[in-house]
Symmetry: C2
Subunit: 188 residues, 2 copies
DNA sequence: TACAATAGCTAATGTGATTAGCTTTTTCGG
DNA sequence: CCGAAAAAGCTAATCACATTAGCTATTGTA
C-alpha cells in the first residue's frame, strides 16, 4: 500500500519526531513505524540513508526558522526590529528543541546548502541592522556577534534548569540591551 | 596482558581520539583497538558503557578548560582579564574541537556534575567582572551573555570556512569590544 | 602462599543501518 | 484502454557496534 506522502511530508514528520523525542531519536526504524512502512522502504525516498534525512531535517529547520523570524520583523526597524528578531529566534528554539538540535548538525555537512538555507535569516539580521549606520564590515561583525549570542544562549537555555533566582528572560533582555548599547557606542 | 592504564588515562586518550576524529568517532570498538584490548573489556573500567565514558570525557574537557582559562587571567583585571579569558576560551576550542563537541553533551546528562565542573570557569568570569561595579544580578546576566557568546561563536567558528574577507579574528575582537562598551554604559 | 579483586578474553545477543532482489502500484505514451 | 516503466513497498540477509554472560589469568596482599 502506498502512503501517498511526499519527500517533504516525510521530512516534516521526521522534524516533528525530533521535537517530540530528540534529534537522535529520529531513526529510520522509528520513522518507518510512524509512517506505517518498513525501514528499508525509506531508502526509496532517501537513497543516501539516514545521513541524507538528517541533512534535510537540518535544512528544513533553517528554512522554517527563517520564515518565522522574517515575519517577526516585518514593518519594523532599528531596535524594534532587532529585539523582535532575537525574541523570534528564541521562541522558535523553545518550541522546536529537537529540531534545533538537528539544525546544529550543519557542522557535519557541506556548508553550501546550509549557507543558502540560513542566508535568509542572516539577511533579516542584516536588514534589521541597516538603520544603524554601520560600515559593511561592522555589519558583518555585528551579524556574527548576534548569531553567536543567539545560538549560544539557546543551547544553554535548552539545558539549564529554570530554578535560578535570576531568570533567563531577564538575562536575555539584559544581553540584548547591552549589545545594543555597545553598537550605539560605535558611532561615537 | 594488563595495560596498566588507569581510568583517568583512558579518559584522556579518549579525549585525544575525539580531537583527532570527532566526538562521535569515539566508539568502544575504536578505543579498544587504540588501547590494544577488546571492547568488552572496557566495561571493567566503565560499567555504565559508552554513556558513562562520554560523560567522563565531557567532564574532563570542562575541567581542562577551566584550568587553562584560570591560568590565562592570573594577575589580570578589568578589560585585560575579560579579554584574555575570552581568548583563552576560544584558543582552547580551536585546539580541542572534538573534545569541545563532547563537552556540549552536558545537555544529555545530569546538570549537577557539569555544574560543578564548569563552575570553576564561571567563577573565573565572575571574578574578571568583579571590578566593573555591577550588581550581583547584573553580574549573573553578564556571565550568561559572555558564556552564550563564547559558546555560540566557538560553535560557528568550528564550522565556518575561513575564506570570508572579514576575518573571524576581527569579528571576535569587535564583539568583545562592543560588549565591553555595553557593559560600561550600564554604569551611566 | 593462597585468595579475592582486577582486568582481560571469547562467544552470543540485540538494535539499527544498509543492501539486494522481488512485487505491487501508478503513471503515461500510444 | 493497454502495456511498459518508474515508483514505492516488502522480505531476507549482512554489517557495525554496544552490550551481556561467563570464563581465565594476573596481581597485590593478609
Amino acid at each position: 500500500m502506498r502512503t501517498g506522502l511526499s519527500r517533504e511530508d516525510i521530512i516534516k514528520i521526521a522534524a516533528e519526531m525530533a521535537d517530540e523525542k530528540s534529534a537522535a531519536g529520529v531513526t529510520f526504524k522509528a520513522l518507518a513505524v510512524r509512517l506505517g512502512i518498513k525501514s528499508p522502504s525509506l531508502y526509496k525516498h532517501f537513497s543516501g540513508g539516514l545521513d541524507e534525512l538528517n541533512r534535510e531535517i537540518m535544512l528544513y529547520g533553517w528554512r522554517l526558522m527563517d520564515g518565522e523570524i522574517t515575519q517577526a520583523v516585518i514593518g519594523k526597524e532599528k531596535d524594534d526590529a532587532f529585539i523582535d528578531l532575537c525574541y523570534a529566534y528564541r521562541k522558535f528554539v523553545s518550541r522546536h528543541q529537537g529540531l534545533y538540535e538537528a539544525m546544529q548538525w550543519y557542522n557535519m555537512y557541506d556548508s553550501e546548502e546550509h549557507l543558502r538555507a540560513s542566508e535568509g535569516a542572516v539577511g533579516v539580521i542584516c536588514r534589521a541592522l541597516s538603520s544603524y549606520g554601520l560600515t559593511e564590515e561592522q555589519k558583518v561583525h555585528t551579524v556574527r556577534m548576534i548569531r553567536a549570542f543567539l545560538q549560544g544562549f539557546s543551547t544553554i537555555e535548552v539545558n539549564i534548569g529554570k530554578d535560578h533566582p535570576v531568570t533567563l528572560d531577564d538575562s536575555f533582555d539584559f544581553a540584548l540591551k547591552t549589545m545594543l548599547g555597545g553598537i550605539a557606542d560605535i558611532q561615537r
